[in-house]
Amino acid sequence: MSIHPQLLHLIIALIAVMAWVGLNALVLVYFERKGAGFIQRRPGPFEVGPQGIIQPLVDGIKLMCKQLVMPTGADPVLFWTAPLLSMTPVLLLFLVLPYGPWLTGMQIDLGILLILAFAGINVLALLIAGWSSNNKYGLLGAARAVAQSVAYEIPLLLAVLAVAFTTGTLDFVKITEGQGPWPWQWNMVYQPLAFIIFIISAVGECNRAPFDLPEAESELTAGFHTEFSSMGFGLFFMAEYSYMVVVASVASTLFLGGYQGPFGSDGWWWYLPKVYAILMFMIWIRWTYPRVTFVQLLNINWKWLLPLGTVNLLATAFFMKLF
């Protein structure tokens, strides 16, 4: 009995994505801490391994060796559902991302829609986490997470729609191929406003500083994951970093030409630097800007990003008819 080649392809993709998500969590934690150290003029992790390179792995093992504590008043079913619900859709998001000409889990017509649909589940996970832990900080964090994610999803959609209008497809591979290898052929040049809106609302969607109000340490101890210890916290953490990678990958596919390279040198070696450039940018602004207040956060979205996104979409539709 032989395995169907399509099934084999899917299983290989699944294993590759699992390895990629796990590896990325480690690499990004290291980059984040080293970046923070660099910006704050201190060495960052230094002791474990050369330049502290094994530190994230050791931290992960340490997290696994801690007790999973649940508060006595919490709702046990929802409490344990939340971290799993946060982690479960993550792998699926990588299914449609084209990392290279042959390095795509599956090419489908509705790639963008699939990512947007399943990335939305994370909001539910954060809400359940904050509510079920029967902690006032958790509850406040959950309410903030919902208000914020709900708000920043719309400019994100509008920015994506502007690109979808110009390319006329929702398929990531076709969008990549619609752009050229050189920077002046990228969608970023034709849609600069959409790119800026996308990056800002992506930072908001990922709950990253300066928009990390749901887990604002100075106000809410840890927000929605206050009560989560050990791997319960680890899963939220890993999911958050994976969502960052997904967002950066989507941005580099939609706006930065994806895997295309000059002189026919297409491949993941062009894709990964773009993804990591965006991730480094997110790390950079996290350690540069102070946290905004919640009213500011919502006002930026409703008063600036949303009208700008709508106008941008209208202008896109107008200029498409003009030329």
Binding site: V21, M64, A164, M231, N299
Partner: protein, 126 residues
């Protein structure tokens, strides 16, 4: 309903994601200590004993934004099919239609803005 490769892929990847979450949790159960008693089960509210449960009625003044969100999110979803077809249309009529659609959406923002929703009052009078 036809069960296609995409459905299989979604189910497979969701199961993989579930395993990816359950695995570390089980490891933590196996490897971690099992301490009990004392104040271990007390919710962490900066060390003080919590005053009552957190499952109380409290005013979320965000429901208005939830309404705008629903309006926008559902309506923007209608634009995805439009986006795929818009490039191949002829004449200015499609643009006028898109314009009317987005204009009506934009009015909702203007309406809420004029009602003072974005100055974040405690109670919103609509």
């Amino acid at each position: 309903m036809v069960f296609s490769w995409l459905h299989l892929a979604i189910v497979l990847f969701l199961l993989g994601g579930l395993l990816f979450g359950v695995g570390p949790l089980l490891l933590a159960v196996l490897l971690g200590p099992q301490a009990k008693g004392g104040d271990l089960g007390m919710p962490f509210e900066c060390g003080m004993r919590p005053h009552g449960s957190s499952w109380v009625k409290w005013g979320i003044s965000y429901y208005c934004y939830a309404l705008i969100f629903l309006a926008f999110d559902v309506d923007v979803l209608y634009l995805f099919p439009v986006a795929t077809a818009y490039g191949s249309t002829e004449g200015w009529l499609p643009f006028v239609k898109v314009f009317i659609f987005l204009f009506v959406l934009g009015i909702s923002i203007v309406y809420f803005w004029a009602k003072g929703v974005f100055s974040w009052p405690r109670r919103i009078k609509l």
